[in-house]
């Protein structure tokens, strides 16, 4: 892997720019942890604060939801997740099967995600700020 960073200083300042932003860290068992980024080290162990755990519904739940909810109508391909605000569960819409599914969530607080289990890291940005920076 060719590193996008020329020197260490650049890498550190990039990581520092992420501090206190909300990260979404997906682990090997396909859970997603969303929390404020507090700390990392050389092995990419990540400390998140105020973390919620989101879990994809199990096949059984998926089936139930599928039968009760029916097909979705408004799908937006650029944004793979939509939300449902009335309950504590959050709805996602899988792009593959085109149905709405509830992600079950749980509050965990302060967590460490060991680097070896991380498969995906996303940073949450305000769309308005991205637009302001001309990135969108």
């Amino acid at each position: 892997m060719t590193s996008p960073f020329q020197d260490k200083q650049e890498a550190v300042s990039y990581l520092e720019s992420l501090l206190n932003k909300n990260l979404r860290v997906t682990t090997t068992d396909s859970r997603i942890f969303v929390g404020a980024f507090k700390c990392t080290d050389a092995e990419s162990n990540i400390v998140l604060q105020y973390t919620y755990e989101y879990r994809h519904p199990t096949p059984q739940q998926a089936q139930q939801q599928n039968t009760t909810q029916g097909d979705p109508t408004n799908s937006n391909p650029t944004n793979p997740t939509t939300t449902e605000t009335t309950t504590t569960t959050t709805t996602t819409e899988t792009t593959t099967s085109k149905i709405k599914l509830d992600l079950t969530s749980r509050y965990l607080g302060l967590v460490v995600v060991p680097g070896q289990y991380i498969v995906k890291i996303e940073v949450e940005e305000f769309a308005s700020q991205l637009r302001g920076r001309g990135l969108l």
């Binding site: 892997m1 590193s3 996008p4 960073f5 890498a11 550190v12 990039y14 990581l15 992420l18 501090l19 979404r24 682990t27 068992d29 980024f37 507090k38 700390c39 990392t40 080290d41 050389a42 092995e43 990419s44 400390v47 604060q49 105020y50 973390t51 755990e53 989101y54 199990t58 944004n79 997740t81 939300t83 309950t87 504590t88 569960t89 959050t90 996602t92 079950t104 969530s105 749980r106 509050y107 965990l108 607080g109 302060l110 967590v111 460490v112 995600v113 060991p114 680097g115 289990y117 991380i118 498969v119 995906k120 890291i121 996303e122 940073v123 949450e124 940005e125 305000f126 769309a127 991205l130």
Partner: protein, 804 residues
């Protein structure tokens, strides 16, 4: 506020700080429902950008051990972080191939015997919760319970494990029964939990009140749940003929039990006449025996219980195993719960303050101790809203107690004093001083009752705290006594009589405080024996100290008696308070003398056994690796230092003096002054004294316990005092229990001592002629210090001869 609050608050807070993210979500049960809704994983305004590769390569540039972290985030905080994917910490971590779902289908049809099986397992789990295990490992492992209360039902119709059930379509009868049962169960748990939360109970020691963000049907009406159970019983009757179908009958018993338990809880809130509160408990008792007889009809449904549910509870704990007592244990504990629940109601029959105290003492001294819920009920009955037993003011109880102990028929306690408005009147002055005293003493007095409502270790610990308080109270009471004395029209007397000392007043208030202080000190030492605080080599000195305290107490009672008798003889009043007070003094005198003689007997016995080398060393019960027990082998301490530590809680007490180490050594070695045979003779003498005093107590209590119980009912009216049996020993409402624990329990210790003395004397006499003194006995006899639970009475640890 009292000392309990002071102690408990920082503790709870301390635990709160340990849990994760406490600034966001408080795990305190009361606030459990204020968990913020989880944020939406996406919204219009927020876009997630993938940065995986960039992040990982940036992190790879860091040196090993180097951190990039937020300046306000300390590594100390991170110690409390939950490590994802660690199976010991991360409750969401699944084993490979494991699914989060339970594959159990709650909508499947159940046979009646399966429903009985599920219900009986729920009984066991409910009991495990009562015994102190968390809901997560007990009731909340039931799939039915989980589906019933999550998502939280807001109406009775919602409360079903099969959600979205059409209102008009009939439920399967077996589902109706199980649902009604679970509703009754959870609602009862809610009330039990609330009751326990509202009283002083030690979380982590006694009971776990955490409900893991489940509501226990908080928002549903009690009456709706009654209706559901009644309807379910009706359905049972319609579909099966309850009279002929034993399965239907068994189910009906179980529903009836739930109904009765809910009623019992509802009625206990009233705190009125025990006779009107008892019926639901009696019904529970009757139904319970039928339930246990029909247990074999059920067939277990293991799939309906799963530890997986714990992953969805508001807990950061990974799943722990289900805790389930066996059917026999469940039955035993339920029987005990019902029995205690019924007998605790009797506390509401108030006759006098000393009987009330004795009720609490004997009720809590039961082995095993009553369950937490019953103890919470007792506290609620005693203290709720600062109205004692739902009918008496604290002042009323305190004045009653003062009149029993020191001030029968006294002007100091005359309620008329309060109506005098002229400030120069002695009665006005008395009223104002007494009010100051009451305000000062009330909390200390109530704390004694409250302390005894705790678990046994806490009782001892709390009494130690109270001791300091009573020490100060006694000093303050002395000042008030001196202020009151000129107004109370009391003749000064020389005490002890005919010693030519300076005449003094009776000092009633400080005498009262001193009485309780001595009582507290004796209880504390006695609880030390019960809780196995003392090592075998300390027993001689601790029993000697107990005897010392009891002796001081006897002298003090003599002094109170002297002044009371003098007042009675000079004024010839007719108030029934005099005979009552005299009976109390007589009873306490006998009891304290018994304590004194028994403690002295045991101290002397242990001294003699130590001389003969028969006392087991410290290592007998602990690991064989521990060093041998002689003093020289404990190089980092000395006997004097150990004495100082052991006596530390008593060191701040000015009266009675703390005996010095030398004094106690002298008392427990007897400096070789008397022969061992002489010591054993002394034990016999003391034991004979105990027998005599216990005889006096038994006579006071009346030989026929039943009669005492019957008469108690006639004398239910507070304030009156007759010489009925329970009254003379101030054990109205708990006479049989008191007799069993003290008169009979202590007598067991007496018999044990006599036997040991007999056999040791015999062995010693026989070996004396033949060999070297002492050695022969060691080889012939082997002694063991029993655990308190094995002893005849927990307070009197009599050594046992295990080998002859």
């Amino acid at each position: 506020m009292n000392s309990f609050d002071d102690e408990q608050l920082p503790l709870t807070q301390g635990f709160g700080d340990l849990s994760l993210g406490n600034d966001y979500y408080s795990p305190k049960p009361g606030l459990a429902f204020e968990e913020p809704p989880s944020p939406m994983i996406s919204s219009e305004g927020i876009i997630a950008q993938e940065i995986t590769d960039k992040f990982l390569s940036a992190a790879a540039k860091l040196e090993p051990g180097e951190l990039v972290k937020d300046g306000f985030f300390t590594l100390f905080e991170s110690v409390g972080a939950l490590e994802v994917m660690d199976p010991k910490m991360d409750s969401g971590c699944l084993a490979p191939g494991e699914s989060l779902d339970d594959d159990y289908d709650v909508s499947r049809l159940l046979s009646p015997s399966e429903v009985i099986g599920i219900i009986d397992q729920l009984f066991s789990l409910e009991m495990a919760w009562h015994l102190g295990y968390p809901l997560s490992q007990t009731l909340f492992t039931s799939v039915y319970v989980e589906k019933l209360q999550h998502p939280n039902p807001t109406t009775i119709h919602d409360a079903d494990f099969i959600r979205g059930h059409a209102a008009d379509s009939p439920r399967d009868p077996m589902h109706t029964v199980l649902r009604a049962y679970c509703l009754g169960l959870l609602k009862a748990c809610y009330f039990v939990n609330e009751r326990i939360k509202s009283e002083h109970i030690y979380e982590e020691e006694d009971f776990v009140t955490n409900t893991y963000n489940r509501s226990l049907l908080e928002s549903l009406n009690r009456s709706d749940i009654y209706d559901e159970i009644v309807t379910a019983r009706q359905v049972l009757r319609d579909t099966h003929h309850t009279e002929t179908n034993e399965l239907a009958q068994a189910l009906d018993f179980r529903l009836q039990f739930r109904l009765a338990f809910l009623r019992a809880i509802e009625l206990s809130e009233l705190r009125t006449d025990p006779a009107s509160l008892t019926p639901p408990w009696a019904e529970m008792q009757a139904v319970w025996s039928k339930i246990s007889k029909t247990r074999d009809l059920g067939s277990a449904v293991p799939g309906a219980f799963s530890t997986k549910i714990q992953r969805r509870l508001a807990s950061t704990m990974p799943p722990r195993p289900i805790v389930q007592p066996s059917a026999q244990e469940t039955q035993r504990h339920f029987e005990k719960l019902i029995e205690d629940g019924m007998s605790v109601l009797n506390v509401l029959n108030y006759t006098d303050s000393q009987s009330l105290l004795k009720f609490v003492l004997t009720f809590q001294a039961q082995k095993p101790q009553p369950m937490v819920y019953v103890r919470a009920l007792l506290q609620n009955f005693l203290f709720h809203d600062m109205i004692i037993l739902g009918q008496l003011s604290i002042r009323r109880v305190m004045d009653d107690d003062l009149s029993i102990v020191v001030l029968p028929d006294s002007i100091l306690l005359d309620p008329i004093n309060d109506t005098i408005e002229a400030p120069h009147q002695p009665r006005f002055i008395i009223a104002s001083h007494m009010e100051i005293f009451r305000q000062r003493a009330a909390q200390s007095y109530l704390d004694i009752f409250r302390a005894f409502c705790q678990n046994r270790c806490r009782v001892r610990r709390t009494l130690f705290h109270s001791l300091q308080d009573w020490e100060m109270l006694q000093a303050e009471a002395e000042e008030i006594d001196e202020l009151l004395q000129p107004h109370a029209d009391e003749k000064l007397l020389v005490y002890p009589p005919r010693t030519g000392g300076i005449p003094t007043g009776s000092m009633p208030l400080s005498s009262w405080a001193y009485h309780y202080k001595l009582q507290l000190m004796q209880w504390t030492v006695q609880l030390g024996f019960e809780l196995e605080i003392y090592q075998p080599n300390e027993l001689a000195s601790m029993y000697w100290y107990l005897a010392y305290l009891a002796q001081t107490h006897i002298y003090h009672i003599d002094r109170i008696k002297f002044f009371t008798t003098h007042r009675l003889e000079t004024t010839h009043p007719t108030s029934p308070q005099y005979p009552r007070s005299q009976a109390f003094l007589e009873h306490t005198h006998a009891l304290t003398r018994a304590t004194f003689s028994l403690a002295l007997a045991l101290s002397t016995l242990y001294t003699a056994l130590a001389r003969l080398g028969l006392l087991p060393s410290l290592t007998t019960s602990s690991s064989p690796l521990a060093p041998p027990a002689s003093s020289s082998s404990r190089p980092y301490s000395t006997d004097a230092l150990r004495h100082e530590i052991r006596m530390k809680p008593f060191a701040s007490v000015s009266l009675p003096d703390l005996p010095s180490h030398e004094m106690m050594v002298q008392a427990t070695t007897r400096g070789g002054m008397s022969s061992t045979a002489g010591l054993l003779e002394e034990v016999k003498g003391s034991v004979a004294n105990v027998r005599r005093q216990l005889g006096v107590l038994a006579a006071l209590a009346g030989d026929d316990g039943e009669e005492g119980t019957k008469r108690r009912d006639d004398n239910g009216v507070a304030g009156e005092w007759s010489t009925a049996n329970g009254n003379k020993v101030f054990a109205v409402g708990c006479l049989d229990r008191w007799k069993g624990q003290v008169v009979e329990g202590w007598m067991k210790a007496v018999v044990e001592i006599e036997e040991v003395v007999e056999r040791v004397s015999k062995a010693e006499n026989e070996t004396k002629g033949g060999g070297v003194k002492g050695e022969g006995v060691v080889t012939r006899l082997k002694l063991k210090v029993p655990r308190p639970s094995e002893a005849g009475h927990e307070w009197w640890i009599v050594p046992r001869i295990v080998k002859e």
